[in-house]
Amino acid sequence: MAQSDLDLAALKKVGMIQQKQKDYFALRLHAVGGDFTAEQLRKIAEVAEKYGKGQIHVSTRQGMEIHFVHYTHLENARLELEQAGIAMGACGPRVRIVVACPGESTCRWGIIDTKKIAKRLDQAYFRQDTPHKFKMGVTGCPHNCAKATENDLGVMGGILPAWKRESCIGCDLCVSSCPVGAISRVDGEYRLDESKCIYCSICTSNCPTDAWYPRKKGYIVWIGGTMGKIPRLGTQLKKLIENEDELFKTIDKVIRYYQTHGRKRERFGHMIERIGEEKVKEDLLNGAGD
């Protein structure tokens, strides 16, 4: 096979990206939330040594890339990886691999099962065609370690706190540790300014007597975040969705909306700017969504 026979766009779709050294390709691998088993890593290392230069690059999306694979070895390398259960990634105008923090599985701040949500997102949308690249991130809480707000679609765990007088000892720790000053003490009573609250759970976690407790727990959805040439932080679409199926209904609407209204090579966030944030939110929350 000659180099000129290669369908570069088709290769990109499955994460095989031509390097500037034209005979060589980077093999971008599939991952969900950056989770790999030791066995998978051994296989990736083996393939990198056998077909590449033993060089592996860790991507910004928690994925792995094997660099310097000669174009004549692409199919063999891919086959060997796939036989070991390692799928190829994605490149070009489509849904990319899903980023996630470890969430409630190991983190003491984690409010939601990020791995479960990331897997479900991956199964539903990975590699679907979109007007431009489309990135999704799942973060366990508003500390936002997985940077949900820098993704085209971000899912974030959150809790809405409430206060019960009978357990409170009036220590004022909540007032002192709320990062946004949403809690104040008025006439011996603690009050939450919900318009300021970021649902982070610091008050409920810190409270020595659990007088502050999580009244509601759920998912916050952010849309239109992007870094790159024209950065834009995500817009909050909906907060504290308590039901996973409702979350996915919302996400489905978001992705279909972008697929319908986005222009070629227009990132979702820039599409939102063009159409208008209020209009997009209205369409997604109350409209038919197409």
């Binding site: 220590c171 004022d172 720790l173 007032v175 002192s176 610091i202 976690s205 020595p208």
Partner: protein, 78 residues
């Protein structure tokens, strides 16, 4: 709230997790129910130390803002 503070510790400028370690060591010299006062910086210290103390079974009884630091009074757990 009338108990006397048995010991006071100024942890201004002491970073995490050393501030927590020093608090823990100071608590070890006290009896259950005794009060210890620590001065903690705003920010990370106030985010982490009170929560770690709660996890170890101690109880914050009073927090007072002192500008960019806080006085945190903690009661040693059983």
């Amino acid at each position: 709230m009338g108990q006397e503070i048995k010991k006071s510790l100024d942890l201004h400028g002491v970073v995490c997790p050393l501030n927590f370690v020093k608090t823990k060591l100071a608590l070890e010299t006290l009896n259950a129910g005794d009060w210890l006062e620590v001065i903690l910086d705003e920010g990370d210290a106030m985010l982490n130390v009170p929560r770690s103390l709660k996890e170890e079974g101690h109880r914050i009884v009073k927090v007072t803002s002192l500008g960019n630091t806080y006085s945190v009074v903690v009661e040693k757990g059983p």
